[in-house]
Symmetry: C2
Subunit: 354 residues, 2 copies
Amino acid sequence: MSRFLVSKYSDLEAYTPGEQPKDRKYIKLNTNESPYPPSEGVLRAVNSSQAELLRLYPDPTCSQLKGKIAGLYGLAPENVFISNSSDDMLNIAFTAFASDEKPAYYPDITYGFYKVFSKLHGTKAKIFPLREDFTIDPQNYMGLAEGLIVITNPNAPTGLALSPEDIKKICLGSPDCIVIADEAYVDFGAESCIKLIGELENLIVCRTYSKSMSMAGARLGFAFASKEIIQDLEKIKYSTNPYSVNRITLAAGEAAIDDIEYYRDNCRKIIETREKTSQELKKLGFELTDSKANFIFAKSDKLPGKLIFEKLREKGILVRRFEQDRISEYLRITVGSPEEMQALTEALKDILSE
Amino acid sequence: MSRFLVSKYSDLEAYTPGEQPKDRKYIKLNTNESPYPPSEGVLRAVNSSQAELLRLYPDPTCSQLKGKIAGLYGLAPENVFISNSSDDMLNIAFTAFASDEKPAYYPDITYGFYKVFSKLHGTKAKIFPLREDFTIDPQNYMGLAEGLIVITNPNAPTGLALSPEDIKKICLGSPDCIVIADEAYVDFGAESCIKLIGELENLIVCRTYSKSMSMAGARLGFAFASKEIIQDLEKIKYSTNPYSVNRITLAAGEAAIDDIEYYRDNCRKIIETREKTSQELKKLGFELTDSKANFIFAKSDKLPGKLIFEKLREKGILVRRFEQDRISEYLRITVGSPEEMQALTEALKDILSE
């Protein structure tokens, strides 16, 4: 730290991403990436990015991509926000809708970045513990003073989903709060709240290309909300980094929408692999949540989570583990290809029988 | 605007980028892009971005690119910061080093985004008028209370440069301020302050791939500073959007460094075109600053700036004009290819003789 840093950031602790070690080749089940490549159309779009295009600034309004996304989800372009990843969108939303006077509200066990955004933006965070079974109690989020409610849905790392009806109850129950439904994982079996846009004044639905669209490397997020909320988000975007989404990512994002069936097929495969692997893990004595995401959240009845984590790593398999109360025995295991999950199951069998 | 927006942003006015109209094909001399394409190596790097890579998150530490940039400029990787454009870097620096108690200091005529960042971050801006001849008076920036001094060098839209000696005087004269030398345009004939990194505790030198590296469409910026300042910038980066630079841009950025001689040649060509066009404009009665950037800043002795701007637009040539005191008669004209500048000169001849 330098002596010049604004003092309120001196004890800010940045988000810790899942490790990306380079010491050997790993089966990477630790950062919820897709095991399947982007579509042929996306690869063509990337490869046909021409010199002429790269020397010129991208369109800061992302109007073509907005139009494509609006069309796919049956909304108007004015209801769509485009960002350089969903983290970028969340940071912009915290800027716009949370402050020292407008708290952020979220569960104790959820995406770890909300805590960082709260600290960064000087927001008093009000944190509601999940129920004993890791479900969110919608009642916690009713009657709240103006601020920002953030619900990852399905939640991470539990994989458990609220219904759109519950999200609607929260929106209506706290009408002076913005409610973000962060649907990063929704394509793997949960029900989206997009259909509520238009009906609810205070709802933002946030999405990403990183999981179901196999484009974590390209950095692209989007969100749906009322025209007025989108204007607020864009005011902040255009006041921080107007051209944050580059030309190649925009082209790739458009091409992916054209190939949406390919991605839907991938999601079906991932769901199938998740269910199959879940059965295998249960046979090995693991306790699992009913995950609707592209990861499994599991605890062994025999060995500590930390030990399994380390033994898997020794065997060349990376999973994610959180040093946090109530979940420190759990592993969050990304659903990879069937072959990768087979290797995982075999490795766990070995570890448990050692 | 929605009723949920944090009130301090209600009168925030976002930065207005140069227009990107699509109604016809224009000669685009309004956003300081390069007339030359990225190098062959960059195109190869983009085209060889493989499926496997795009589905995976990029390296948030950008370590390979950091190493290449450090090597090119003779510094250590720990002195290098990588960002999604130099706007992103500036926004992060305003976050880290300016606040309601730490003012931002900058000239009245400079990059328009500083004003937006000041408002966004609740910083009291202290603005120093340029001298009558549009030069910066380094004395203005001596003995300042702790805060953030931002000097575009060469300045925009004037093109006038301070020497590294003057920047050094400012750093030493206001030792409790961070001093950013924003060198977006330095490759077109000014002298860089990079050699002062290591010597001066409070200097940040900020650079971009958008101008001399022909990659405005890929969004890539970088900065040099002490190890401690880089740590501060990274703390903010990793607390807002850790993976902000995508895989393809990282690969392109690395390849561009390998092809640095190509870009240096382009800069030489652009300088030559600038000087030739400047002579032509002087013959037409224009008054010009001694620009060291990839643009010309010029005022006609015959017609109002607004009229020329509009007439050029009608003729299919876009330039930039600022509705601001002291410079509203001036045009900022990006140095394009020799053919484009020939077309500009011809168009101006026509307009002046109409």
